[in-house]
C-alpha cells in the first residue's frame, strides 16, 4: 500500500514540477510574481479540450500546438500587461498579473461556461499496469515522463543556448546584460513565452485525466508557488526536486495523517523550509 501511495505521489510530482518550472522562470529570472500562471495552465487545458473536441486530436498529439499557443499568450502578456509596468516600482507588476488572472478566469467562464469538460477515450487511458503489486496508471506515467523530458529540455535550453545564457545573464544583472548588448526587453518577452510554453505542455499532459472547468487549476497554481519557493527561485532543477517532494508529501501525508489534511503537510514543509533556508532547498 505504501508503495502504491509513493508511486502515485512521485508521478504527480513530475507534473507539479513542470507547472512550477514555468513559474520559476518568471519569478526567479524576472522577479515578477505571475498570479495568472494558473490561468495560463487553464487556457492550455481548454486549448487541449477544444482541439480534441473540434479536430479530434488527442492532447498528446496537439501538445506542440498548445505549447505554441500558450507561448504566444505569455509573450502577449509581457508586451501588453507587464512591459509598461516594469518601470514602475513597488507592487504594480504583481497587481497587474493579479488583474490579468481575474480577467482570464472571467473570460474562461464567459466563453466556455462553468460546465465540466472531459476528454473521453484519450490516446493513453487511465488503465494501469501492475509492477510488484502496485497499480501504475498509464496516463500518469506518460505525463510524468513527458514532464521530466520537457523539464530537462528547458534546463538544456537555459544552459546550452545563447538565448538561455542571455536569460540567466539578465536575471543576474539586468544593466550589465544590457551593456553586453543583450536586448533585455526581448529576453523578458521570451522568458514569459517560455514560462507559458511550460504550462502549455503541462496542460496538454494533464488534460486527459483532469476535469476541465474554470476553477480546475487553482490548487496547481498555489502548489507551483510553494514548489518554486521550496526549490529556490529561478532554479529549474530545484523546482523539479521540490515538485517531487511536494507530490510525495501530499500523498504520504494524506495516507498517514488523513486525506483531509494532505495539503497541511505540504504547507507545513514549506513553512519549515523557508525558516531554515529562506532561499529554498536548492537556492543559492
Amino acid at each position: 500500500m505504501i508503495g502504491q501511495i509513493l508511486i502515485n505521489g512521485l508521478l504527480n510530482g513530475f507534473v507539479y514540477a513542470l507547472v512550477a518550472v514555468g513559474l520559476s522562470l518568471t519569478w526567479g529570472v524576472m522577479d515578477i510574481v505571475n498570479f495568472a500562471h494558473g490561468e495560463f495552465l487553464l487556457w492550455g487545458m481548454y486549448a487541449a479540450f477544444w482541439i480534441w473536441s473540434l479536430v479530434g486530436l488527442d492532447p498528446l498529439i496537439s501538445l506542440p500546438i498548445i505549447v505554441v499557443l500558450i507561448f504566444a499568450l505569455g509573450v502577449l502578456t509581457y508586451l501588453i500587461v507587464i512591459r509598461r509596468v516594469l518601470k514602475v516600482s513597488g507592487l504594480t507588476a504583481l497587481l497587474a498579473t493579479f488583474g490579468l488572472s481575474m480577467v482570464l478566469k472571467n473570460l474562461t467562464q464567459f466563453f466556455w461556461t462553468a460546465n465540466y469538460k472531459n476528454i473521453t477515450n484519450p490516446l493513453v487511458s487511465n488503465k494501469s499496469f501492475k509492477v510488484l503489486g502496485m497499480y501504475i496508471r498509464q496516463d500518469y506515467v506518460v505525463a510524468a515522463v513527458g514532464a521530466l523530458l520537457l523539464t530537462m529540455l528547458v534546463m538544456a535550453f537555459m544552459n546550452k543556448t545563447k538565448t538561455g545564457v542571455a536569460i540567466k545573464a539578465t536575471s543576474m544583472n539586468k544593466q550589465a546584460a544590457q551593456l553586453m548588448g543583450i536586448d533585455t526587453s526581448r529576453i523578458y518577452a521570451i522568458t514569459f513565452g517560455l514560462s507559458g510554453a511550460c504550462v502549455g505542455a503541462a496542460a496538454a499532459l494533464m488534460a486527459s485525466f483532469t476535469p476541465i472547468y474554470p476553477e480546475a487549476c487553482a490548487l496547481y497554481s498555489t502548489l507551483a508557488f510553494v514548489i518554486v519557493a521550496l526549490g529556490g527561485f529561478g532554479n529549474i532543477k530545484g523546482a523539479l526536486y521540490a515538485g517531487l517532494i511536494i507530490g510525495v508529501a501530499e500523498a504520504l501525508g494524506g495516507y498517514l495523517i488523513g486525506t483531509s489534511y494532505k495539503y497541511l503537510v505540504v504547507f507545513l514543509i514549506y513553512l519549515i523550509v523557508i525558516q531554515i533556508r529562506p532561499r529554498g532547498l536548492f537556492g543559492w
Binding site: M1, N8, N12, Q109, T113, A114, N115, A251, G254, T259
Partner: protein
Amino acid sequence: MKKNWMKKLMALALCGAMAMAPCMVKAEGEIPIGAVLPLTGSSTGEFLKAAMEVAEDIINNSHDLDWDLAKNEGILDGQKVALQFADHQASADMATTEAAKLLDDGVVVITGAYNSGCSASVATMALEYGVPMVCGSSSSASLTDGTTYPFASIFNRVAANDAQESAEFFEFLKYLNEKYDAGIEKVAIAWINNSYGIHADEMFQKYAGETGFEVVASVSYESSATSFDTEAAQIKESGADVVFQASYIGDLTLFAQAYSSLEFEPKMIICYCGGFQDASFAKVATDLGVNNYAGGQACTAVLADKLPVFSYVNELYKAKTGQDIDGPALEEFASVIVAAQAIQAAGSTDAAAINEVLKSSEFEAPYLITQKIHFDENGQNDVMPAVVTQLIDGAYEDVFPIDDYTTSEPALK
C-alpha cells in the same frame, strides 16, 4: 486630455447602468420570486437556472398539458411570475448578501440554493424578513431536523434529505442481499469535507449501524485536491463491498478514474445526489465501462413514457440545455412550481399567507414519480421524493423500490 477620457468613461458607465436598469426592476403586475444559485464557478448553476426558467415558462404561458397550472397563463388571475436570480458562487457569506438584496427588492418567496450551507444562509435571511423559502435540491438532513437551525417556520425542501436517502439506500442493500444473494457486509464512504459531505457521513454511519452493515472506512477529502488516488487506495484497502460517495461532479469523476485504475470494482457505488445526478457523469461511467454507480434521483429520463408531464418538462429543458433534466434540476424546477402553487392557493402575495399554505397543503406534482409534494412541520418533503437509479450502459435506470416505475433489475458486480 486625461480628464476628457475620464468623462467619456463615466458617461459610458452611466449609459451601461441605465441600460441594465430594466433587467433589475420587475415589471408592473409581476410576482417576484427570488432564486439564489451558484451561477458562477459551478457547472451546475446554469442547469438549475434553466430548469427554473422552464418552470417560469410553464406557469406564465399556456401549455397543452392535463395540468391546470400549465394550461392557464399566470397565477392570481393572469399575473406572471418573474424569477430574480442571484449568484452566491458557492459561498455561504455571498448567499447571505445576495438573499438580503433579493428580499430587500421584495421577492415574495425565495428559492435555491443548491449547496446546503448556502441554503442555510438564505433561509436565515428569509426568516429575518418573514418570507417563505422553498429549497429545491439541498440534501443535508440538518436543514430540516428542526434543531440545528431556527428557520423551520419558513423553510420547505423538495429534495430527499440524506437521512431519507440513507434509509432508502440501506433498504436497497438489504434487498440486494435477499433477492440476489449479493453478500454485501462491509461498506465504506468517501465524502467531501463540507456541510453536504459531513451530514451524508453522519447519516451513513447511523443507518449502517441500524441495519447491521459494517463500516470499514470513512474517508474525507477537500474538493480542491488535484487527485484522489490516495483516497481511492484507502477505500480499496478497506475491503468494502459497497462504497458510498458524497461527491460533486469534478471529484466524483476523479474518484471514478482512480477506482478504475486500481481495478477496484465494488459491488455497487452509491452516491448521495451531487455529481452522480449530473448528466455528464453518465459519459464518464460509460467511458470507463462501469455499470456499478447508483444514487437517488427525483425522476429519470427513461420514465418519460410513463410520466407525460415529466416528459414535456424534459423536452423544454433539453431544448435549453441540450441534455436530459437531472435530479437537482428537477427539484429546483419543482421549487418554483410549488412557490407558484402556494401563491395561487394563498390568493395573494402576502408572505404569511403563502407560508401558511406551504405548511398545510399538499401540492400536485405530476412531473414526479410520487405525483405530490407535502412538507412536514420542519419543512421536509415527507413524500419520499427519490428512487434509486443505477447508471446501466449510460442510462439512469430506476432499480428500487420495486413498483410500476421500476425500469431495470440492478446490475451487480
